[in-house]
Amino acid sequence: MTFVDIPVEIRTKVSISVDGEAVDVFEGDTILDACTKAGKITPVVCYGPTVTPVNACRVCVVELEGSRTLVPSCSRPVEEGMVVKTDTERVGHSRKMVLEFLATSSDVTQSNDIMGWLGDYGADLDRYDPETTERMTDEVKIEDDLYIRAYDRCVLCYKCVEACGEDAQWTFAIAMSGRGFNNRISTEFDVALPDSACVYCGNCVAVCPTNALQFKTEFDLRKMGDWRPEDQTVTRTVCSYCGVGCNLDLHVQDNQIVKVDSPMDHSITSGNLCVKGRFGYQYVQNRPTK
């Protein structure tokens, strides 16, 4: 008989102060974890539970005693005795400005989160003269029947790059290219997706916060004005292709599957699927036509 030595992870408790309240978290946790534990609602764009934070959006910043600048809560590990403030004017200002910057640069209207925070933080978009305010005006890339890329909605959060690369798929079909405001998520030499290294797992689509990447089915329905999330049902099932046991959430509208994803907290998938699980659902609705 073989005994497997299962190491017991001993995590040191760390106590920090969030808006004057003592919060106990563990070593290795982030300030964001502590804020969440303290009941604070922290806006996040480039942070996701399944991807390494690139801390590029800076909307989650908090005040940390002893730090000259604000710090990104999503990626700053806690240290014993940290004094963090989230409800100060400085924090509010930076969050509001980041949200204004995002909303004046890209089309964020399909992100319910961002649209909500714009209101919460008192963003004033009207003060930006539309004539002199540059936006991302990329045309939507429709290159196949599976998903589209609408980079005028992109906020350059790097999550798709992370998901395509080391955080999930290890395909590295997309990367950040260009510099500054001309940064774009791009395939090699900006070739069309079918010509690129893309394997169509769609794990980039799953993590996109603004719907810049979306199922072609959703894109078509939205175009026809017929995208009705309120009328959709979500059915959880197990993918029938192989034996791994990935959970699928089938989004169904008018008895048609319109989108497939997997729960981010699922122990097997962490929200990731392969091309078959995510896009190979047509056989399910292979019904005889009337």
């Binding site: 690139v54 801390n55 590029a56 959006c57 800076r58 909307v59 910043v61 600048t69 604000l70 990104p72 990626s75 400085r90 200002h93 930076s94 400005m97 980041v98 910057f101 995002l102 004046t104 640069s105 003060r127 930006y128 003269d129 002199t132 305010t133 540059e134 906020v155 350059l156 690369g165 290890w170 395909t171 590295f172 079909a173 997309i174 990367a175 950040m176 290219s177 260009g178 510099r179 500054g180 405001f181 001309n182 940064n183 791009s186 395939t187 090699e188 030499f189 900006d190 070739v191 010509d195 690129s196 290294a197």
Partner: protein
């Protein structure tokens, strides 16, 4: 280890051999090429030691190989980049992502093999750069506007990026001298140091043409500082640097001794990186040191390597410094052949060598962590700190990063001892400082003074202003404008801070009443917009929005009060929430110009 899948585009024979030559040159002895194609063959030894991992680790060759292919072919085609991707085992999307980050690489066959990068930044702008650019463009040349080329004392300047030939910088450029450079005329740099003959330390060799050779360097006291250093223990050397009170001369003024002792305390291997990516508009002091006294940098680095137990030194020099690059290349090679770099430096029983890496047109790579990413073959995007480079630097290993001028001061510290050095200057700002005088000044150039000299003193050294002085740009684009009421402020870290400005990298740019400040400040805004890496939202968008605000003030007559409120909002979020110093300082000059009434005044 990802599987590398490339597009159908194939390289030409010339591109294929350019990649092969480059990789063999950069990484000699590691690989051999199968003549039939790009497949790599490894000798048994390498495979036994984990050849696959070694290929993966060659990612740091990406930037040098991109340079070599661009220089051989003139541009980077899809086929060439596919070849680079398969050879270095870097995903092609990332090869493209990295290459497209840099200004000096282009992805379409150029109209002419040689590119002319005409500096139209601050100092050149007020010396006729735009007119020169127009003339050259009218002649059908491959002309690009360029940010500051670090030749402000010999404005206007042009960087000639040649194909198959050595690059060259043209100083005090005219149409004719640029055309001559295209025909192969080289530039012999002349040290812009009018202070010659005086009691200089950092600049003492810049007029001695013999000092660029090993013998000439030794004959002028070279390597005495190293001899002094190795007579002490490494820890004692670090203590002297700490006691000297030396602070970083690149702009941040961080105490060098702290940095060195932190790195020395970390487990090895350790790195010493010299930041020679001198790109702050108006700054050219490091270029002068490297062009005319390259050994002083090599000697100081060797001392640093000894003191911190760092066996590998790196110099990251900007790609637009061809003369300084050649000067360092030849000095490094000669130092190696003289046994002053290598496995046993000067018989002193320690190992130290230097690798020179070239930037490719990106101001942000002067930010220390962006610089590290650039060396490693990634986009020059700054890293979030902490962790700091002293613990997690180059390749994740402990790294000290110092500016060229900072480094060269170490020789002086060895010769004088820490306390002796600290006696120069003021109590808080020790040593001598190089200032880069340019703009409307009688004798533009690099000046060395003890910390504590006033702005008036330094300007007087340079022969005084030309015309009626209206403001001085201190610290470059990342600094601020100050008025003529500040002339008597001593140029020390503490006094400048007290008066609300920063010495930064030592830029003193004089501007007289002929300057169109709206245009000048707009160029600074354009600089930050183009040089922001775009990683974080506050800086990527903030640098664009502040430029738009200036445009509204200038061209649409927008009410200054309203725009000022927005500019303040932009400035605060960039200062508070940007990842790095570029965003933190991107609005300083613009706001100071409004405060001084240089722009936006309701006349």
């Amino acid at each position: 280890m990802p599987e590398i899948a490339v597009t159908a585009a194939t390289p030409t024979e010339a591109e294929r051999s350019a990649v092969a030559d480059s990789v063999v040159l950069q990484d000699p002895g590691q690989i051999s090429f199968d003549a039939a194609g790009p497949a790599l063959t490894f000798d048994g030894d390498r495979i036994a030691r984990g050849g696959q991992e070694r290929i993966f680790n060659r990612r740091h060759l990406l930037l040098p190989v991109l340079h070599d292919v661009r220089d051989a072919i003139g541009w980077l085609s899809e086929g060439a980049m596919n070849e680079i991707a398969t050879t270095l085992q870097v995903p092609p999307a990332e090869v493209y992502g990295v290459a497209s980050f840099y200004e000096l690489f282009t992805f379409e066959a150029p109209t002419a093999p040689d590119a002319l990068h005409v500096c139209d930044d601050t100092a050149c702008r007020i010396q006729g750069a735009n007119e020169l650019k127009g003339e050259l463009a009218a002649g059908g040349h491959n002309v690009h506007g360029s940010p500051c080329l670090g030749l402000c004392e010999q404005a206007p300047a042009v960087f000639v990026q040649r194909t198959g030939e050595a690059h060259v910088s043209v100083r005090s450029a005219t149409k004719d001298s640029v055309l001559a450079a295209l025909d192969g005329a080289m530039t012999t740099p002349v040290a812009p140091v009018p202070q010659a003959g005086e009691d200089l330390t950092l600049l003492r060799r810049v007029h001695n043409a013999a000092a660029v050779d090993y013998d000439g360097y030794v004959a002028t006291g070279g390597y005495e500082a190293l001899a002094k250093a190795v007579s002490m223990s490494p820890a004692e050397v670090v203590t002297h640097v700490g006691n000297a009170g030396l602070t970083g001369r690149g702009g941040a003024a961080f105490p060098t001794g702290f940095k060195w002792s932190a790195v020395a305390a970390e487990p090895g291997p350790r790195h010493l990186v010299v930041n020679a990516d001198e790109s702050e508009p108006g700054t050219f002091k490091d270029r002068v040191l490297m062009e005319h006294d390259p050994y002083s940098l090599i000697e100081a680095m060797t001392i640093g390597g000894y003191a911190m137990g760092a066996e590998q030194g790196w110099i990251y020099i900007r790609g637009e410094y061809p003369e300084a690059t050649r000067s360092l290349q030849s000095a490094i090679a000669e130092a190696r052949s003289m046994g002053m770099l290598g496995d046993d430096v000067g018989g002193h029983n320690f190992r130290f060598d230097i690798e020179l890496r070239l930037g490719a047109g990106a101001y942000i790579c002067g930010e220390e962590t962006a610089l590290l990413n650039s060396i490693e073959g990634y986009r020059g995007e700054p890293r979030n700190k902490p962790p700091f480079p002293t613990t997690n630097g180059l390749f994740g290993q402990p790294t000290a990063i110092n500016n060229v001028e900072t480094m060269v001061n170490v020789n002086q510290i060895m010769l004088l001892g820490g306390e002796g050095y600290a006696a120069i200057g003021t109590e808080k700002s020790t040593g001598t400082k190089l200032f880069c005088l340019s703009g409307h000044v009688a004798r533009p150039g690099v000046y060395e003074v003890d910390y504590g000299a006033t702005l008036r003193d330094v300007i007087a050294l340079a022969g005084g202003p030309v015309g009626s002085l209206t403001s001085i740009l201190m610290g470059g684009a990342a600094g601020s404008f100050i008025g003529t009421d500040m002339l008597d402020v001593p140029l020390t870290i503490e006094d400048s801070r007290e008066h609300g400005f920063s010495l930064g990298s030592g830029v003193v740019m004089l501007l007289n009443d002929t300057v169109d400040y709206h245009d000048f400040v707009a160029r600074i805004a354009q600089f930050f917009r183009e040089e922001s890496c775009g990683q974080c939202v506050p800086c990527r968008v903030g640098t664009v929005r502040q430029g738009e605000s200036l445009l509204r003030i200038r061209e649409k007559g927008a009410p200054i009060e309203q725009e000022r409120r927005m500019l303040d909002d932009f400035a605060l979020v960039m200062k508070d929430a940007s990842i790095c110093g570029l965003g933190h300082t991107a609005s300083g000059a613009i706001l100071s110009a409004i405060d001084l009434g240089l722009i936006g005044g309701r006349s």
